[in-house]
């Protein structure tokens, strides 16, 4: 037992596990930020009364929600970088990091868009009618009546998208990011195959620790802020 423990301790002294998780968190943060902005714009497009904008939003969501993330990530390296020669940075690791961020953002923006739209859809038509009936014009009605309720309704699906993004940041391995968790997991197991279970459990527990609080937080928030109807 103590033999196992010392092996295990040695292993984690020689591999930077926390650093790998930090890379995933950074991927999640930047991709999440971009996806949030793009997703909001797409949601505006989709609910706008302008047909061509609505079409763009719908087309984007249909295409990227149905494409496997792995294809997008492979496309970012082999296609965008390899074939189209689009480079974000001269430094190789930095370049792949940002290509992965863009790939993750493109994919998750579709889900952010749908989350926000489903939030808007939780607001009953009567709310808008009542707002107009008391004399509010478009902007005040949107600002004071509809959007506050819509954002509350969007918290839970947005939280789910964030959780998916945290887990999907491991797919950055397919975009050439070599320092994140899934690549490190593979390397550690390949060089220390006797500790395979312990290594996997460590990484798995790491993700449980990352994901569960986000889930609990968004559930609590969406409950507490839920509009009672």
């Amino acid at each position: 037992m103590s033999d196992f423990l010392s092996q295990f301790g040695e292993l984690f002294a020689s591999y930077d596990v926390l650093g790998a998780f930090w890379v995933n968190i950074q991927l999640t943060f930047w991709a999440g930020l971009i996806a949030l902005v793009v997703g909001c714009v797409l949601a505006l497009f989709r609910i706008s009364p302008v047909p061509s904008l609505a079409w763009v939003g719908t087309a984007y969501v249909t295409v990227f929600r149905n494409t496997p993330l792995t294809i997008i990530m492979v496309f970012m390296t082999l296609g965008v970088w390899g074939q189209l020669k689009i480079q974000v940075s001269d430094d190789f690791p930095t370049n792949f990091f940002w290509l992965a961020v863009i790939g993750l953002a493109i994919y998750h923006a579709a889900f952010v868009c749908e989350s926000i739209r489903s939030g808007v859809n939780t607001v009953p038509l009567g709310q808008a009618e009542a707002a107009r009936a008391i004399g509010l014009s478009f902007l005040p009605a949107a600002r004071m009546v509809i959007l506050p309720q819509a954002f509350r309704g969007a918290i839970a699906p947005l939280g789910n998208t964030l959780i998916a993004l945290i887990k999907n940041s491991t797919v950055a391995a397919a975009a050439g990011v070599a320092t994140e968790t899934s690549t490190l997991l593979k390397n550690m197991i390949e060089f220390n195959s006797s500790l395979i279970y312990a290594i996997f459990l460590t990484f798995a527990v790491g993700y449980v620790i990352l994901v569960i609080p986000v889930g609990l937080l968004t559930t609590t928030l969406s409950r507490r802020l839920a509009v009672r109807r």
């Binding site: 706008s48 904008l53 249909t62 149905n66 489903s118 038509l125």
Partner: protein, 309 residues
């Protein structure tokens, strides 16, 4: 766009608004077309639109040796995974509803664990583990087992929220005619919940198919991997990946539409709600099974979805 005129944010437009919308429409269309033209021009400059990059895709060799075997591997893994996931989901979903505390706790831990761990990590782990144990076809079974564990956990949540979504009268009636709680669960509640969750199950298929592409990372010869091989062999990787993506999109889009149609048809066949989960809303993690993202209805389920209890 008939539903567009009925959204909460926008009232039915009057003559002025209609004129503005027409202008906005025109401007937006021009901007979109201009953007598309810029992208096409860039592709043209890079020589990506040349005929020879595309012609090799429409040969018999491409399809009989790459795309079709790849698609078949994808479908094979997805099919086995779906069957496994439903069994896993039924067992642990009913486990989470059990009145025995220990069973409930164990099922909860299993389900929450496998929903939180990234599928890719599971795949790499099982792949290396199976290879270590000299099992046959380690990459196939790694893909299948990982998909079963993750999607099975999502299905377990579907079962649970499906049962929670039933009117309490169903269980009360079952208890009143003398069934035990387990009997009520097995023969009254879960069967109705199953009908209610069928549409959500179909859209979960989209997730299974998409996640099966992760198999490319552990060298399972599925559609993406085959498209990549073909693309690098014929120096048309961009085009080959596009073909694979289009195939995925077509299949997944049809599945999404089928799920929506099924949801409409099954309404009235069950006491539960047949709302389609925002199709492909991948992460069951915390996903309210009845979250209504895909439809335009104002359904309160959307708010009450996630993690009941």
């Amino acid at each position: 766009m008939s539903s567009q005129t009925r959204t909460v944010l926008f009232d039915a437009p009057g003559p002025v608004a209609r004129r503005r919308i027409r202008w906005g429409n025109l401007v937006a269309a021009i901007v979109v077309l201009a953007l598309a033209a810029v992208v096409l021009l860039r592709l043209q400059q890079q020589g990506q639109l040349e005929a020879e990059k595309w012609t090799s895709i429409f040969t018999a060799d491409a399809w009989t040796n790459f795309y079709l075997p790849g698609l078949l591997s994808t479908l094979r893994a997805a099919a086995v995974a779906v069957v496994g996931a439903v069994v896993f989901g039924l067992v642990f979903g009913m486990g989470r509803l059990s009145h025995m505390g220990a069973v409930r706790v164990v099922s909860t831990i299993v389900v929450e664990f496998f929903r939180a761990v990234p599928v890719l990590l599971m795949m790499i782990f099982f792949w290396l583990l199976f290879a270590q144990k000299d099992l046959p076809d380690p990459s196939f079974w790694a893909v299948v087992l990982s998909l079963i564990l993750y999607n099975g956990s999502v299905v377990a949540e579907l079962v649970r929220s499906g049962v929670h979504g039933l009117p309490s009268g169903q269980r009360e009636a079952a208890l009143a005619i003398g069934l035990t709680r387990d009997q009520s669960l097995r023969s009254i509640e879960v069967p109705q919940a199953l009908v209610a969750m069928l549409p959500a199950l179909v859209s979960q298929l989209v997730v299974v198919l998409k996640d099966s592409a992760l198999g490319a990372i552990i060298l399972y010869p599925e559609l993406l991997q085959q498209a990549r091989l073909f693309g690098s062999g014929n120096s048309n990787i961009l085009q080959s990946l596009t073909v694979a993506a289009v195939m995925f999109i077509l299949i997944n889009y049809s599945l999404t539409k089928a799920a929506e149609a099924l949801g409409g048809r099954l309404r009235g066949r069950t006491a539960g709600s047949t709302g389609v989960q925002g199709a492909g809303l991948e992460n069951g993690a915390g996903a309210g099974a009845t979250l209504q993202a895909g439809t335009d209805e104002h359904d309160q389920q959307g708010l009450l979805g996630p993690r009941q209890g």
